[in-house]
Symmetry: C2
Subunit: 217 residues, 2 copies
């Protein structure tokens, strides 16, 4: 059975290696799990010894099939719990991430299956992120971020990149949730901010924010 810490490292490696192609660098990994590079090196050696990643000194780490499955199971739990907290317990979408960071480490196959059933097998979490199924299959959405959307084009918001409370609260204010229709009216060259229509409502979005909104045309 994997420890709390091992699970967090695997999850971080998964998120940092865009779809498993590029190797994950030690410094990036350390930053992601909020430790120092020396600690990340130690853990990466340990995970390699357990055949959860392949690792080459000074080069980086890649998940093995086994490691990827483990990572996806942690992500599955995280996103199912977030969905539960919003849908069943009435949490706001900006309040769930921290609690889910704890709940994702509960070890019980039965619990997560029952939870999935209780929620009626949701496809995405409150932030629009896809939930891996029991076999670790995850549907990859070929989404682009809002700042790359052309002027005049319409799209549907699918997900939000950043799970920080401050961004989510801001998006709440302007009404930018997954599922909503967005259309770019104008783009300021000076600061790359955009003027858009969100379900008919005119809104102004900074570049910092629009980068974190994922849309599908």
């Amino acid at each position: 059975m994997l420890s709390f810490t091992e699970e967090n490292y695997l999850k971080a490696i998964y998120h940092l290696s865009k779809e498993g192609s590029e190797p994950v660098l030690t410094n990036d990994l350390a930053k992601s799990v909020r430790t120092k590079a020396a600690s990340a090196t130690d853990m990466v050696k340990k995970l390699a010894a357990k055949k959860l990643i392949s690792y080459r000194k000074y080069y980086g780490a890649n998940l093995t099939t086994k490691g990827k499955t483990e990572a996806l199971m942690v992500i599955r739990k995280h996103r199912l719990w977030e969905t539960f907290l919003v849908q069943a317990l009435g949490f706001m979408w900006d309040e769930v991430h921290e609690v889910a960071e704890q709940l994702e480490h509960i070890h019980s196959k039965r619990l997560i299956e029952k939870l999935d059933e209780f929620l009626n097998y949701p496809k995405t979490d409150p932030h629009g992120d896809p939930i891996p199924d029991r076999n670790g299959k995850i549907q990859q959405t070929a989404a682009i971020s809002c700042d790359q959307l052309e002027k005049g084009k319409s799209a549907i918001i699918t997900a939000v990149k950043d799970s920080s409370g401050s961004l989510l609260k801001l998006l709440d204010k302007i009404g930018a949730h997954p599922g909503k229709k967005i259309k770019i009216i104008a783009c300021e060259p000076y600061d790359k901010s955009v003027e858009a229509l969100l379900d008919g409502q005119r809104v102004f979005i900074s570049h910092e924010v629009s980068k974190n909104i994922l849309v599908k045309e």
Copy 2:
């Protein structure tokens, strides 16, 4: 913030000191948390340094007000989660204890309040044990165990002492759940087993089992 382990020790001390009167002995505590006496001594010193217990060498440990509140909060979480698992997720009452042992250590005031609300503020858990409220108030039931019930007397089952899966499965079979009416028909002097009526059904209960059934006249 208390660690996983500290919380488990506090909970064990609470359960071992019948309502806080008697001091808890090191060996008993060690057995309860499944470690060795030496480890229990270390932890007991640590908890005393944090003013969660009072401790006298070779004599034993007692919860302080602060420690008792912490213990009751862990017990509150444990029992609310058990209730959730049975009522919302459809677990059997013999499957919930192990998972609740993990869930009870999730740190989030908001989560537990929301869970309590979702469950409509239950008074007892699936095993009939009282659930402390948000302030740590717990209603003490003056129950006696079934083996002390006199012949011919009727009573209501209020709770089950032991949370082991094998006992709970057995009680399921004979239909002995909290809320049910039980009446002792006969008691065998040889093995102290009893013949009883459980909602009209005639059942035979061994002494080992009847000791673990709590009833209220």
